[in-house]
């Protein structure tokens, strides 16, 4: 149950690029064509394992519209990873990446890992941004890059998990100060035998009960 680390992510990018769909695909493994546009911020969470360690991802999905920028900006604080998303079928969303990147760099900690994502790769026929362009942009700005489809789930797992791996490596290398929560990383709570909030069932089924 308890995790070794908690990483906080933020998803940013223009409105309509599919940020909420990516999050839902990652947390719930489904593509929901019927959902709300995001006002302010929404969130999701999921556990993953890296290097046999449980890692909890706490993901903030922000609204893309310009008008919400002043609100969403405040959520950059304390994010260890950012997914910067554009829509491969709408060039303008790619053109705005620089602005987003500047914004992110300005308001986040300098070690934040940024993953560039070209979403809607299932819509090949309507593609307006070549994969190479995404690649080049990422290389130029030192980002990781992937094309994904929230609809088909292609590369969605990988996008979130590779970001986590990168953060994890940075921790191993001692780049991140994990004791400073402003870095978006938290060490998991220690096992404690007197955890009253656990339901009786899960306590007895836990193989590691009673030790830490």
């Amino acid at each position: 149950m308890s995790y070794a680390y908690l990483f906080k992510y933020i998803i940013i990018g223009d409105t309509g690029v599919g940020k909420s769909c990516l999050l839902l695909q990652f947390t719930d493994k489904r593509f929901q064509p019927v959902h709300d546009l995001t006002i302010g911020v929404e969130f999701g969470a999921r556990m993953i394992t890296i290097d046999n360690k449980l890692i909890k991802l706490q993901i903030w999905d922000t609204a893309g519209q310009e008008a919400f920028r002043s609100i969403t900006r405040s959520y950059y604080r304390g994010a260890a990873g950012a997914l910067l998303v554009y829509d491969i079928t709408r060039r303008e969303t790619f053109n705005h990446l620089t602005t987003w990147l500047e914004d992110a760099r300005q308001h986040s900690n300098s070690n934040m890992v940024i993953m560039l994502i070209g979403n809607k790769s299932d819509l090949e026929s309507r593609r307006e941004v070549k994969k190479e362009e995404g690649d080049a942009f990422a290389r130029e700005h030192g980002l990781i890059f992937m094309e994904t489809s929230a609809r088909t789930a292609a590369n969605v797992e990988e996008a979130f998990i590779n970001t986590a791996k990168e953060i994890y490596e940075k921790i191993q290398e001692g780049v991140f100060d994990i004791n400073n929560e402003a870095n978006g990383i938290k060490i998991g709570p220690q096992h404690s035998p007197s955890n009253a909030s656990l339901p009786p069932g899960s306590q007895s089924s836990s193989p590691s009960s009673g030790c830490c």
Binding site: D28, V34, K56, R69, S70, S74, E92, H96
Partner: protein
């Protein structure tokens, strides 16, 4: 013994024990009609009865062969039938077992997913939550039914039944004039409106009609206004058909199209394919509004506000008219200057500090006293926090808490009429080295929006899935390169104006008349400038206490659009004095007092509002509300919507215990409330908010008469 086959009793009495970890069990009693109570419905009833937000399991009690009590899991309709059949007299005993909230929040907690594996997860949780959502209506019905059958209602009930047709007629005189409008509002404030009556009554409480209209006059008025709407709408639709996708038209249609496809689609009204004609209606309403209100234009969130109006009116023109009426009050929320929203945040913080200082200090300790996680609540006035039908109830209650503000002579459907420009001229490249430099220069500050606009010119289509084929054809013929140049020119012209840069030779008179959207684009540019102010107002991230620099909402420089409470009330005061009824009452009192009187003098049908004990608890926890350092006047509080503040404070207070018990940090709190979207219990929240609001009004009239002069 068990009743065999067919349920003899119309209602089965149910006794439920809820167990959660080490907490002592909670009990509820109610009755259900076995004919209409499915497993889904039962789950929803239980969720409501105990105010459960997370996952839970249900089992029912039977006596085994040895006469021992055991609980059998209840997992399906089939199980439920068995449970009904075997219900031991006099009760069907159920047991609800909770999983701790934390877990249900974070669905995957127990199922870590390895790097490679992609197994499908957690069907059940999703299903249950979906069901809860889907059956909210049914639950309401089921609850009403059980309340009739059984003496002790589940949880709290509204203080009054919804306004019905017979009652409403009593507010109309023989020629259909509304008399006693304030009383009408008071009735609605306590009980809401019967759904079938909303179409009629909402127009009254939304201030669509000028005062004193007869029934016949109202019909004529709506007809005239509908025609006016059609004219406004056809203007831009005509342009779309001609392929004139330029400027604001391109920007607005592009934005709105994306958003109407993502607004309340789970509601039957908007469900199904993207061709649903109701989605097209919503698109038309928002586009017409944006184009004819250039200072506000379109902002995300508006679709959420317009949607319930369209569902209720089921008529595009009427919904547009209601939307204009609503936006008269709410448009300041959408201005990029952020003044209104900042004020609302500040007042909410003040209110919370006033009523629950302990929780407020907790928030402060966790640097959450900026209350940013309430953003959606404030922007959409809680609309998304309740299931759709509950939101309708909440909205009408909230609207009727506000003083009436009928339009002087008639409601304006536009702020600045959108005028059709002449057709796009033949290709005429305007791009040159100079325009490029200008674009670049602009780009430094305004990349984002410029790009949005430019590219939306190229890319934005009319609402293809909704419009006819002919329209689509035109759109395909549209020469994108030219449009881009037009826009370049527009931007150039605009920057010239702004930067007083006169080196260009591009200012021939025909140009300026040709590119009509310039004025509106300029507004947008100005709004962008204002956004940097907004940034300033909100402070940069992480500044903790310095987030709000808003000091005095009335003393500060107000934008022309800023409908400050004072202004509203001034007009109001006049209206009140002119009003045919209640002249005596208002002679020496302010509107506040009038409102207080009307709200309090209405008989509360059901005396048990006080069952909302949390409120009294939190109110007293904060001590008697202080006289000094008190809250803003009712006409200022919450930017003129004090009841909204109490809705928000109520919701915060209803969760404060859990938040503090679990020691939630900033993120966890925000997540917690985010998860509650559409899940708050409207009846409970409204009841508590009413209590708090009444106490607040009372306090005001008792202690600070001196401050009340408007």
């Amino acid at each position: 013994m068990a009743t065999v086959f067919g349920y003899k009793r119309e209602a089965i009495r149910v006794k439920v024990m809820k167990c959660e970890g080490l907490l002592s069990p909670e009990y509820r009693k109610f009755s259900v009609d076995p004919q209409i109570t499915s497993f889904e419905v039962l789950l929803s009833i239980l969720a409501k009865a105990f105010d459960i937000r997370g996952d839970f399991t249900v089992s029912y009690r039977v006596l085994d062969d040895y006469g021992q009590e055991t609980y059998i899991a209840l997992l399906s309709d089939w199980d439920l039938d068995a449970a009904f059949l075997s219900a031991s007299e006099p009760y069907l005993c159920l047991r609800v077992d909770m999983r701790p909230f934390e877990e249900s929040c974070e669905i995957e907690e127990e199922e870590p997913v390895a790097l490679v594996e992609t197994k499908p997860t957690h069907g059940l949780h999703g299903i249950i939550m979906n069901h809860v959502e889907r059956t909210f209506n049914m639950v309401q019905r089921a609850l009403n039914l059980t309340e009739e059958v059984h003496a002790t209602p589940i949880g709290s009930v509204p203080p009054r039944a919804p306004l019905n047709d017979v009652e409403f007629r009593q507010f109309l005189d023989p020629i259909g004039q509304l008399v006693q409008g304030a009383q009408l509002r008071a009735v609605i404030y306590y009980g809401g409106i019967e759904p079938s009556l909303r179409k009629v009554v909402w127009k009254h409480i939304l201030n669509v009609y000028p005062e004193g209209m007869s029934g016949k006059e109202r019909i004529d008025y709506m007809k005239k206004k509908s025609e006016e709407y059609m004219r406004l709408r056809d203007c831009w639709r005509e342009m779309l058909k001609n392929g004139q996708m330029v400027g604001d038209l391109a920007y607005v249609t592009g934005m709105v199209r994306k958003d109407v496809l993502r607004t309340d689609r789970h509601h039957m009204f908007y469900a199904g394919s993207d061709d649903n004609k109701n989605i097209a209606s919503l698109f038309n309403i928002l586009t017409t509004y944006a184009l004819n209100h250039p200072a506000v234009s379109y902002c995300q969130g508006m679709s959420d506000l317009a949607s319930p109006l369209l569902v209720t009116m089921n008529d595009e023109a009427h919904a547009y008219i209601c939307f204009c009426a609503l936006m008269k009050r709410l448009s300041p929320n959408f201005l990029l200057d952020g003044i209104m929203m900042t004020q609302r945040f500040q007042h909410l913080a003040d209110g919370l500090q006033h009523y629950d200082p302990q929780f407020y200090s907790y928030l402060k300790l966790h640097q959450a006293d900026d209350l940013l996680f309430c953003y959606r609540w404030l922007l959409l006035e809680m609309k998304r926090e309740f299931a759709f039908d509950d939101a309708l109830r909440m909205l009408e209650v909230m609207w009727s808490s506000l003083p009436p503000m009928p339009p002087e002579s008639e409601l304006a459907l536009y702020e600045q009429e959108f005028v059709r420009s002449p057709p796009v001229p033949s290709p005429r490249p305007k791009e040159n080295a100079y325009t490029k430099i200008c674009a670049l220069r602009r780009g430094i500050n305004h990349i984002s929006l410029e790009e949005t606009r430019r590219s939306s010119l190229v890319k934005s289509r009319p609402f293809t899935s909704l419009d006819d084929a002919a329209l689509r054809k035109v759109e395909n013929l549209q020469p994108t390169r030219i449009v881009r140049n037009l826009n370049e020119f527009l931007s150039l012209d605009k920057s010239k104006e702004q930067k007083k840069d006169h080196t260009s030779d591009n200012n021939s008179p025909d140009d300026s008349s040709e590119f009509f959207p310039m004025t509106t684009s300029m507004t947008r540019e100005l709004r962008l400038e204002l956004e940097s102010l907004d940034r300033h107002v909100f402070g940069e991230a992480g500044q903790g206490e310095e987030v709000f620099v808003w000091e005095n909402p009335l003393g500060g420089p107000a934008t022309p659009e800023d409908t400050s409470g004072g202004e509203i009330f001034e007009t109001e005061g006049k209206t009140v004095k002119e009003g045919p009824e209640e002249t005596t009452k208002t002679s020496d009192s302010t509107l506040l007092e009038r409102r207080r009187v009307t709200l309090e003098e209405i008989p509360v049908v059901n005396g048990n509002v006080t069952s909302a004990r949390e409120v009294s608890a939190t109110t007293t926890a904060g001590g008697p509300p202080g006289k000094s350092g008190g809250l803003p006047h009712p006409h200022e509080f919450g930017g003129g919507n004090p009841f909204l503040m109490f809705l928000c404070i109520t919701v915060l207070c209803q969760h404060r215990d859990m938040i503090m018990r679990q020691g939630m940090d900033y993120n966890e709190m925000a997540m917690h409330f985010d998860k509650m979207v559409r899940k708050h219990d409207a009846t409970r929240v409204l009841n508590q908010a009413r209590l708090m609001y009444a106490a607040y009004l009372k306090e005001y009239s008792n202690t600070s008469h001196a401050h009340l002069s408007v």
